[in-house]
Subunit: 210 residues, 2 copies
Amino acid sequence: MSPKVTEEHRESKRQEIVEAALRVFIRQGYLATTMKDVVEESGLSRGGVYLYFSSTEEMFRAMVEEIDQANARQDEELLSAYPTVWEAIAAMFALLRKELLRIREGVVPVLIEAFAAEWRKDSFRDLLERRYAEGCVQLERMLQTGVDRGEFRPRIPIRTIAKMFSSIQGGIMVDTTQFGAAGTEAPEQIEGYLLSLRYLIGVREEGDPA
Amino acid sequence: MSPKVTEEHRESKRQEIVEAALRVFIRQGYLATTMKDVVEESGLSRGGVYLYFSSTEEMFRAMVEEIDQANARQDEELLSAYPTVWEAIAAMFALLRKELLRIREGVVPVLIEAFAAEWRKDSFRDLLERRYAEGCVQLERMLQTGVDRGEFRPRIPIRTIAKMFSSIQGGIMVDTTQFGAAGTEAPEQIEGYLLSLRYLIGVREEGDPA
DNA sequence: TCATAAAACGACATGTGTGTCACTTTTAAA
DNA sequence: TTTAAAAGTGACACACATGTCGTTTTATGA
């Protein structure tokens, strides 16, 4: 006698289900998605899926956790990939621009819908807070590095700048999602962001007096 | 014989129902609100309410229309109330700041939830587009006035500036709603906005050379 | 005060999503 | 090959929101 011991391929099964869920979320929207839909998309049965997740909300949670990890990794790499902080920041905005252009096929609208739907739940408080903190802290850290290196001479506290641009990023994503490409003309905006950011953090030109 | 002719107090009845709906929306969130809830809050009966609205979505529509009208009126007044355009803009941001501080008791979270929930519906496309357009156009008009009067000397197209600040406003509202007061420190941000806006539009100091 | 039409009522039929649970299949160790 | 414990199945019972519709109430004008 011996029971079958499940290895961690259980995790890969969870993964599969989350991927199926994401496809449905993207196709018909987070709010219009029911367990039934995910069950069908995943190819499993009702009971099978419930073995891993008991609501679309849980799937969304798992999804966000993964996305956030990936983002954190990406941001981490940016700083080390460019000689100056300013170039790293510019690259960051270029990434944002790319994401904006692909927004209609992507994950962003799902995130927006889902967070707007779930933010009142206490069980989401921690997720929200972590997201917000990370969004700010990342940029703040980059700015601080720039200041330390003598690259920047900020006109207002970098913390304020970081918070401001964190809000901007959210705002433009919402706009692009809900109002469509016609509404935002994303590329133009990104340039405006960079220019005003450049001013606020006081990027020194070469040969600028210390 | 003579039928009872309804005057336009029908409109006031609609108003009453919309107000009841808003109370419920604020209390438990747009998505968690059912017709049953609104029926109870309004004091009418199921059939009575259905005589005016057949879904919470319709009520929300009516609500938005009214809010937008009020906003448009308010913005209109701003320009004429201040001697310089810059002061009018500063006053606009002061209003925004006030709204941010009261966000938790207010309508903004409901708007966010509802638009995130409904934006995919074709029947909302017009509402969304109008909202977005008005949000931008209003600021753009103010900026243009400032340019015409020689108050401003913008560094990038005012259209871009208007779009950018329109996104910012949305972003900060979402942040304040979902992340709470702890998340955004609204007052600080507003000052940052104003400073960077001031730079972008090139507000001339007194005695500045033309 | 009476007649009539609109306003309001509320029980009911319907549709749909949810979570469970007794049962079948698969898997791997013995 | 046997065995037992997981994985997986899908019908079912349940809850709940929706929209309707026959009935009752209200208000007006004759």
